[in-house]
Symmetry: C2
Subunit: 311 residues, 2 copies
């Protein structure tokens, strides 16, 4: 166990993030033991079989008993109830955190249930794939990605330092942010992108003049890129939209306003307007690659890179 580590980590929820956290913890020896909770017996059995937990528990309270770090890795909608269940058994000095994509709602739903002496520090690793379940995790998921922590006013500096060191040891860069600002930032960088991805897949499925088979066959023209994030966990995403309503509606309003302007530019054949906007978009892509947040390989590296061609 390193300085970034804990005695007993409880992972409440063993999906993509919970299982990846386990692998990241094992990779660097960040816990003496990992206790896990999952609602389904099948998931608990799988988790034990593949070794991502040392013990698997049918209730969150059993898993959290005696833990010095408790990480809620479930859809947002059940976090409040789980916190309530765990509250009586939480150790004084334990850190309770989460990984949810919305932070304001977590502060409101989880915070009030936790006893004094427990350090509550909401968190959000900006990492994921479209796969779900206990077998989808891998240790490298958080490498080079940002993890945002949103400590409420008055958070213990020592606890914040320990949680920061933990995430850094899992491979992340840590950023501290206000919960409401987090929710606004994520609305544009994650929630609205997922919503419009779900939406265009839905639109494509219900056309009368283009068949589903044509949509699938000819999806390499761009559409398939959207289907990846539209394949993410439906319950998790339902809860995101139900719990970050205001920020999502604000960003969606801006998106629709801009789309209407683009639509008008197309209708009236304003080539220069379109061209200028398309040129600007390239700069954002370059920025993301320079910041190490995406690969520069063509097509996300889906295909082998071009072979060098000699003269």
């Amino acid at each position: 166990m390193t300085d970034a580590g804990f005695q007993r980590v409880a992972l409440i929820g063993l999906g993509l993030i919970g299982s990846s956290l386990s692998h990241a913890i094992r990779r660097r020896g960040l816990a003496r033991s990992i206790a896990g909770h999952a609602q389904s017996a099948k998931t608990r059995d799988t988790a034990l079989r593949i070794g991502i937990v040392d013990s698997a528990h049918a209730t969150a309270a059993e898993a959290a008993r005696g833990a010095d770090l408790v990480v809620l890795c479930t859809p947002i909608g059940v976090c409040g109830t789980l916190a309530q269940e765990m509250a009586p058994v939480l150790s004084a000095g334990a850190i309770v955190t989460d990984v949810g994509s919305v932070k304001g709602a977590i502060v409101r739903e989880v915070g009030p249930h936790l006893p004094r002496g427990v350090h509550f520090i909401p968190g959000h690793p900006i990492a994921g794939t479209e796969h779900s379940g206990p077998e989808s995790g891998f240790a490298e998921l958080f490498d080079g990605r940002w993890c945002i922590l949103t400590p409420p006013a008055g958070t213990d500096a020592g606890a914040l330092g320990r949680l920061t060191a933990f995430w850094e040891a899992c491979g992340s860069n840590v950023e501290i942010m206000d919960a409401d600002h987090h929710d606004l930032v994520l609305a544009i960088t994650s929630h609205v992108p997922h919503l419009i991805a779900y939406n265009i897949v839905n639109t494509a499925r219900h056309l009368e003049r283009v068949t589903d088979s044509e949509v699938i066959k000819f999806s390499a023209g761009g559409f398939r890129d959207f289907t990846r994030i539209a394949a993410s966990d439906p319950v998790m995403w339902r809860d995101v939209f139900l719990n970050n309503k205001e920020a999502v509606l604000e960003m969606l309003g801006r998106f629709s306003e801009d789309l209407t302007a683009l639509q008008r530019a197309i209708r009236f054949g304003e080539g220069e307007t379109l061209h200028k906007l398309f040129v600007e978009a390239r700069a954002t892509r370059r920025g993301i690659i320079q910041a190490g947040q995406d690969t520069a390989a063509p097509d996300f590296g889906r295909r082998p890179p071009p072979k060098p061609s000699g003269p």
Copy 2:
């Protein structure tokens, strides 16, 4: 040279598609020689240096002279003018095709310029990356992808057969389709996806309450997926939208209608509506993977696959 091959192929335009075609032609020996035209002297020099053309010409007519296959690989907006320039030198029996993402406009702009005895068969390989220029091409670009041909009524069956065999030898599956239907299908599978990708990048750049730096840092939540296709060639895409206006506006209307309904479901907290829609979207992703049109690897394979973990 195989049966799918030609004596002299003229590639008019040496960007991603033109250069990839050259590599695909070389891979299977589909031409005795490749003549290329690019507007810029720098591109012509590069093309000669890396060996994607045997001769580089400052005008399309010089490149097309004596060719039995001429492939227009330029943005759609200049195809009409180029056809007009080449018309006097085209050989009887030559096939003229293109690779543009809009077919109705190509039929209208190119067709009338071509002399009798020349076979005009518009085409569109559904393949690409976000990279541009003569050095971005690679032989595998068309492997397993669909190429749509839209032969006008009365097209010579022999010429259509030769062009079909050529694309198959380049690695593609070939589908024959009416030009107007092509434009409708591509509007939903390619053009609208690109437009909304450009649009969300634009929206994100002009927010007052979220900085550009935050958008870039936290883009791994989904936003970065959109920036890839928004980094595609701006001139090419301007021309797509100017030349497929009706179909794009029709599909955009459907997209916006559906998005408004989703927005309303979020506003009124209709979790079941959201969940149902998100579940359905997964089926489309599965279909695309089963059809071989995308990778099943998490995150498009951007990261190494999870290492097997023992018990």
